[in-house]
């Protein structure tokens, strides 16, 4: 997402990995993942929390991700 800070991107990736079963791929250059998969998971999260579903990182989405919460995933595994 244009304008998103590295810290925000890490927050989103960590959150989606932990609570939305986002799988991170690995390459020679390090951790990578399919951006469309991140967008899909982000939309899923935004819909669950009643946010505007854009698939992009915005202030409201980050705010929800930074709130204290239960550690059980939101999606069934």
């Amino acid at each position: 997402t244009p304008g998103a800070q590295d810290q925000d991107v890490r927050t989103v990736q960590n959150y989606l990995q932990k609570f939305y079963d986002l799988k991170m791929g690995t390459s020679k250059s390090g951790r990578q993942t399919n951006s469309s998969l991140v967008t899909e998971k982000l939309k899923q999260m935004q819909e669950f929390f009643g946010l505007k579903v854009t698939g992009k990182i915005d202030a409201d989405t980050l705010n929800v991700m930074k709130q204290p919460r239960c550690g059980v995933p939101d999606v069934a595994q």
Partner: protein, 169 residues
């Protein structure tokens, strides 16, 4: 309400719980009281009963733990998680873990132990997260306390549907 996809459920209605250790944040009596209230909240609306035991293996084992505590779901940064619980089942099933790094209280400061315990026990009984902010099973801490005084109907229905029966799924 949201039942988890495998709909695990307890095969008996008389469940036991045990507090394995206590947080230093609160007097023991306050921890006991918070847990008792959390279990009573669910027993009031279901056929389930909960008995506290003081030794041996209980159905629901409760503990305060730090960081990586051996269940593949470590606490600590970056995720701001308070606690987690396991769905009904043998062994670790039903168990509730609270992050000892957090500051636990019996009032409105920091994290109220009763509010969090009430939510986690819902998982111990087989409920998943609900996307209705008015549900006790909504995953954010801020929403728990808003629904506890008038126990929400969705979670009540969920735990009644998911009650043990003679022919468990």
């Amino acid at each position: 309400y949201v039942l988890t996809d495998r709909t695990p459920r307890w095969e008996h209605t008389h469940l036991t719980y045990r507090i394995e250790n206590y947080t230093p944040d609160l007097p023991r009596a306050d921890v006991d009281s918070a847990m008792e209230k959390a279990f009573r909240l669910w027993s009031n609306v279901s056929p389930l009963t909960f008995t506290k035991i003081f030794e041996g293996q209980a159905d629901i084992m409760i503990s305060f733990v730090w960081g990586d505590h051996g269940d593949s779901y470590p606490f600590g940064r970056p995720a701001n998680t308070l606690a987690h619980a396991f769905l009904p089942g043998r062994g670790i099933g039903g168990d509730v873990h609270f992050d000892e790094e957090k500051r636990w209280t019996s009032d409105f400061r920091n994290f109220n132990l009763y509010y969090v315990a009430a939510h986690e026990v819902g998982h111990s009984l087989g409920l998943g997260h609900d996307n209705d902010i008015g549900s006790l099973m909504f995953p954010s801490y801020n929403s728990y306390r808003d629904v506890l005084l008038s126990h929400d109907r969705r979670s009540v229905c969920g735990v009644q549907i998911n009650r043990p029966s003679k022919n468990p799924i």
